[in-house]
Amino acid sequence: MAKKFEKGKMVPVPSTAIIPERDIDKTPILECRHLGIDFGGLRAVDDFNLIIGRTEIAGLIGPNGAGKTTVFNLLTKVYQPTRGTILLDGFDTAGKSTEQINQMGIARTFQNIRLFNNLTVEENVKVGLHNQEPYSALTGVLRLPKYWRQEKASHERALELLSIFNMQDLANTPAGSLPYGAQRRLEIVRALATNPSLLLLDEPAAGMNPSETAELMENIVKIRDTFQIAIMLIEHDMRLVMGICEGICVLNFGRVIAKGTAEEIQANPTVIEAYLGKKKEG
């Protein structure tokens, strides 16, 4: 699959590229058609349709237990969908494994942080670069010239990526001993290292204070502008969602109840009902 950026050309500095407001009219990066999964008799997600543009920031919101993370797990094939198709950049992802999905261009973070705690921050990012700077196990054991070349390249690339969040100085810290916010940021950097065209963020602002959240919002937009990728995020912080998401999808009981821009969602009576309950007549 053609990636937008060639290796070594993604430099994390703010670009001046003009981002179209909604670019779903061009070929979308992700398209879900009638996606659904059952757990036993429970329809966790049903008839989920979604289109995400190439440089869109999309939000997936909904009350607890609505099936948001399940959608992410379907997209990354942690679960195989019971029904429906997922098209990534026009390619059907049926039968692909989680690992192949990542190589096709979807990277993700997790709601409950999943870092490689015993590895350093830099090594965590280098694991993300696994398929970007490849060499064989034998090359590594024999330390052939290619090993030194690729290791140097991935070291530089890792620091470059860490600089997005100003984390270069933490490169040698074990990931497990980082503060909570830094762990969330490292997860994003690790996901970006896999050179994705779609980045899935599962509650990136969870546990962050308002100033950290504001900084995160800036950074999410900066990442989109710099890397020219699509970002889809699950978030409960409405200020973040309404602030940066160009398209928002509301999920309740595994079904999409509303789709649209921030203003449209805020004015939607079904959404208000799902979050606050039905207003009693009289």
Binding site: L115, F116, V127, H130, T139, G140, Q168
Partner: protein, 357 residues
């Protein structure tokens, strides 16, 4: 510069390990040449080398990959008996014992790697306790299978009988005159030429260290450790879990096979029963005591724990009791926070490094 220091610090630790092993080898060789070592002490040298390789290779599975394997002795026995067979059948063709020993170790490593791969296919689908139990079972199966083998060699080549129901004996090999029996079923390998040497053991340790340490510091090692730390996250960044688990498992088995070949060629008589569950556990104790993932620790723990029972021979009947008590005490003290604090105070240099790192 600061960022380079972490990787170079780790590389330095690797070189310390090489240097430490080399110095130990030189010192022991000098002592030996000076006649300071008695016969029983000299007899320990090759087995210690074998067990160091076993411990370091098991550390790759248990410490680096993070899967508990209880059948490591099984791979050692595959290596031992294939190595003995190779060395004995090449006795007439290759007169040089050093070359024959090297070939035997390579054959042992390759055979153990193949068995490791075959065992790995079902085993690596499992995780945690289940994987441990299945490796235990495979270790026992390998031992029983080798007990059934009758192998002989004559001018026509190798003769192998698989004696499943116990009705066959070595005479069923129908060896020509001048042929010799290499493995006699449950009696094991008898009359083996003992061509193993301490130098070969040292070289094998160095090769093992080179393979394991370089693997850990490479892309492959990072992928293996990522799987250990968080399998789901490793999958999500595009790492092929099965492939890297298999690389670790097969490498570990191959090194155990080479160690087995060296071990087998150190004794004129060797039965498959030697490589039972207890041997697997013994090696696991070395690894756990030395610290999971700590290569240097595995080496020290192996040397100390292997010599200890011999050194305690003076206590006669209480020997194993004292051994067990020492084991418990060492485990307790090395894991206590007070002990770690004390070590930090005693080693100010290390403390400094930790703050900087």
């Amino acid at each position: 510069m600061k960022n380079l220091s972490s990787s170079s610090k780790k590389a330095r630790a690797d070189y310390f390990t090489y240097a430490g092993v080399t110095i130990a080898f030189i010192v022991i060789t000098l002592l030996r040449n000076a006649g300071s070592l008695n016969r029983s002490q000299q007899g320990l040298l090759v087995p210690i080398c074998c067990y160091i390789v076993m411990a370091v290779s098991l550390n790759l599975t248990v410490g680096i990959l993070g899967e508990l394997s209880l059948g490591h002795a099984g791979f050692m026995s595959v290596g031992a008996f294939s190595g003995i067979t190779a060395a004995m059948s090449l006795a007439n063709i290759i007169p040089s014992t050093a070359l024959r020993l090297a070939i035997a170790m390579v054959v042992g490593a390759v055979c153990a790697a193949i068995v490791g791969f075959l065992v790995g296919i079902p085993v690596l689908r499992l995780r945690g306790d289940y994987l441990a139990i299945v490796t235990l079972a495979f270790g026992e199966i390998l031992k029983e299978l080798i007990t059934c083998l009758i192998v002989g060699y004559d001018s026509n080549g190798l003769h192998v009988i698989f004696n499943v129901n116990g009705s066959k004996t070595a005479s069923d090999l129908n060896l020509l005159e001048g042929g010799r029996i290499i493995i006699k079923g449950a009696q094991g390998a008898t009359g083996t030429q003992t061509i193993a040497s301490f130098t070969a053991g040292f070289i094998l340790i160095m090769i093992t260290l080179l393979i394991v340490q370089n693997l850990v510091r490479s892309r492959t090692g990072r992928a293996i450790m990522a799987i250990r730390d968080n399998r789901i996250a490793a999958e999500s960044v595009g790492i092929n879990i099965t492939k890297y688990k298999m690389i670790a498992f097969v490498t570990s088995a191959a090194l155990a096979g080479a160690a087995g070949a060296l071990f087998g060629l150190n004794y004129s008589n060797l039965t498959a029963a030697k490589f039972d569950f207890n041997t697997s556990i013994l090696v696991l104790v070395f690894v756990v005591l030395g610290g999971l993932g700590n290569i240097w620790g595995s080496i020290i723990a192996t040397v100390v724990l292997y010599i200890l029972p011999e050194a305690l021979r003076g206590f006669a009947t209480y020997r194993m009791l004292i051994y067990a008590i020492v084991l418990i005490l060492v485990m307790l003290t090395t894991n206590s926070p007070q002990m770690k604090l004390l070590l930090q105070k005693l080693l100010p240099k290390r403390k400094e490094e930790e703050i900087n790192g």
